[in-house]
């Protein structure tokens, strides 16, 4: 029920992000979600891609520190309160959210949000029993 996210360490200087996108496009790797968390010094680039293994190898070869993390891909209604619903469920289950960001693509009136949570198993349980749909890697790839 988890989706593999790729995280890359980037220094805050020009051209670093485009270096990553160049490396990935060369390998024909498609990015379906992207987010950057940054400080004044450095940033962490987070991505969901269609071929995570190949992406990790390519980024490693380009000399960037890279790691993979399990995140949840949660479907929410694309209207006011849609995200709030999922967050309330997690809060009531006592699961804290480290960060979240959204997919580039969307399906009809639904939005897909990626969640990195403290306790992924517990989060999955809570979301499922609240009737919230979670996407797996295969479903993401076929979007």
């Amino acid at each position: 029920m988890f989706v593999k996210q790729i995280s890359v360490f980037l220094e805050n200087k020009p051209g670093r992000l485009s270096e990553i996108t160049r490396v990935l496009s060369e390998k024909n790797i498609d990015i379906s979600a992207i987010s950057i968390a940054d400080t004044t010094q450095f940033g962490i680039l987070r991505m969901i891609v269609n071929k995570p293994k190949e992406a990790v190898d390519a980024i490693k070869e380009a000399g960037f520190p890279v790691s993979t993390t399990d995140v949840l891909a949660v479907e929410v209604a694309d209207r006011p309160g849609g995200l709030n619903n999922a967050l309330q469920v997690l809060r009531q289950a006592g699961v804290s959210v480290e960060y979240l960001y959204s997919f580039i693509k969307r399906s009809e009136d639904k939005a897909l949000i990626l969640f990195r949570v403290e306790d992924p198993r517990k989060a999955v349980e809570a979301l499922k029993s609240a009737g919230i749909k979670l996407y797996g890697s295969d479903e993401i790839a076929s979007l």
Partner: protein
């Protein structure tokens, strides 16, 4: 097990009494036999009789490598050439080498010291010792050779090179003690791998490695790959060669043979003596050497000294594994900083082979130090908070170790320039 229990386990008062007696002899010898020493002492109005206690050592002038160069080749010899039986020389990277002469007694004393080191490494009369240090002008090969013979061990004088044959002999003759540089030990391990020889086919127990600086990390690697205990030996040709100090089986510092040498630790800039435990430049006075005695020789090696008793029973003080050279030292806000100290902090933070750069600058008349650390897979975390923690942990560990606050900057791998595989460690903008 000791080679010379009486000397190696002498009570402190006896060591000091012995040192004072031998120091007086040495000062008397150089004053009467060596023009340069006499001249320096006369300039300060000193006579040999002015040495009345060990503390008086401090009134004597230092000797530097430059003094040896200025008196090239034999100007500092305290014995006539008729009594010199051996010459060694250190490779001079610039200009002339420094030449060292040994009398018969010097060679015998040196062998005594190396025999002590071999016994520290578990050597006995029936041990097989392979000497893979270079033989020749360099002191490593012959120094170990004579020491191992004095011990009565079986000596295999392979010298360096032809590594496959070395490994074959090591296996067939059941070598127990290997003496070479630490980097050559790793090369031997690699060659064994290529030859398909497993360490279990060897009888190696101990390695006595020296002649170049090496880290704890390298020690772990050698120990794991060769399945041995790797001991550090220290020496320099100007003083005698290998065998000035050596680690015992405790591996908690190198015993410096105080019945032959008086060690001091000084601040390399102010030249003031430093208390035990503090890092500074090692200064050595030889007190039982005829051919080339040295008074307060500035080794330019950085270490600290420890007079606490050692679990092995030896009473001679221990110096810390060498931390670098004074040439690498930085003075930041009046604090002496060695790049190797920063390296240790990074290694403690989990970096096996840290790549870092120290950028020193002066802003508003205040020195600043920025430490760039390349983020490895190991240091990298997916969360900003965790990376910030890594950054702050490194900064606070440096503060604890060195007492100076630094700004740590995390950078991408390969940001720091490497020349010939060796990274440049320091950029001092104050000098630009």
């Amino acid at each position: 097990m000791y080679w010379n229990k009486t000397r190696e386990c002498m009570p402190r008062e006896e060591i000091e009494a012995h040192q004072l007696h031998k120091l007086k002899e040495t000062v008397d010898r150089v004053y009467h036999n060596v023009e340069s020493y006499r001249h320096k002492m006369q300039q300060r109005g000193l006579l040999p009789e002015d040495i009345k206690s060990l503390e008086d050592l401090r009134i004597l002038p230092f000797t530097t490598k430059q003094d040896l160069r200025d008196n090239y080749p034999t100007g500092l010899f305290a014995s006539p050439l008729s009594e010199i039986i051996r010459i060694h020389a250190s490779s001079g990277t610039t200009g002339k080498p420094t030449v060292v002469g040994y009398t018969r007694r010097d060679i015998s004393n040196w062998a005594e010291l190396v025999a002590r080191c071999l016994v520290m490494g578990g050597g006995r009369r029936d041990s097989v010792v392979q000497v893979s240090y270079g033989y020749g002008l360099f002191t490593g090969g012959l120094g170990f050779h004579y020491g191992a013979e004095k011990l009565g061990a079986v000596v295999i004088p392979t010298s360096g090179g032809n590594t496959r044959r070395q490994v074959m002999l090591m296996k067939d003759l059941k070598t127990e003690i290997l003496a070479c540089t630490p980097s050559y030990a790793l090369y031997i391990a690699e060659t064994m791998n290529e030859m398909g020889i497993d360490r279990s086919e060897l009888s190696l127990k101990t390695g006595i490695f020296g002649a170049e600086p090496w880290t704890e990390n390298m020690r772990n690697e050698i120990q794991a790959k060769l399945g041995i205990k790797a001991l550090d030996i220290y020496g320099l040709s100007e003083v005698i060669g290998p065998g000035v100090a050596c680690e015992c089986g405790e591996q908690e510092g190198l015993h410096i043979f105080e019945d032959y040498f008086i060690p001091e630790i000084i601040d390399p800039v102010t030249e003031e003596p430093l208390p035990p435990g503090e890092k500074g430049e090692l200064v050595i006075t030889t007190i039982d050497k005829e051919g080339l005695p040295v008074i307060r020789y500035r080794t330019r090696d950085i270490t600290s000294i420890n007079y606490e008793p050692c679990a092995c029973g030896r009473t001679h003080a221990r110096i810390e594994k060498l931390l670098g050279r004074t040439d690498d030292m930085l003075i930041i806000r009046g604090v002496n900083v060695f790049p190797s100290q920063i390296e240790s902090v990074l290694m403690a933070a989990g970096e096996t082979e840290p790549h870092y750069l120290l950028i020193v600058d002066r802003v508003d008349n205040l020195d600043s130090l920025e430490v760039w650390v390349e983020v490895s897979e190991k240091l990298f975390a997916d969360e900003v908070r965790k990376l910030e923690d890594v950054r702050q942990k490194i900064a606070s560990d440096i503060y604890t170790t060195l007492g100076i606050s630094v700004n740590v900057k995390l950078v991408e791998p390969h940001t720091i320039e490497r020349s010939e595989g060796k990274a440049k460690r320091v950029i001092d903008k104050r000098k630009m």
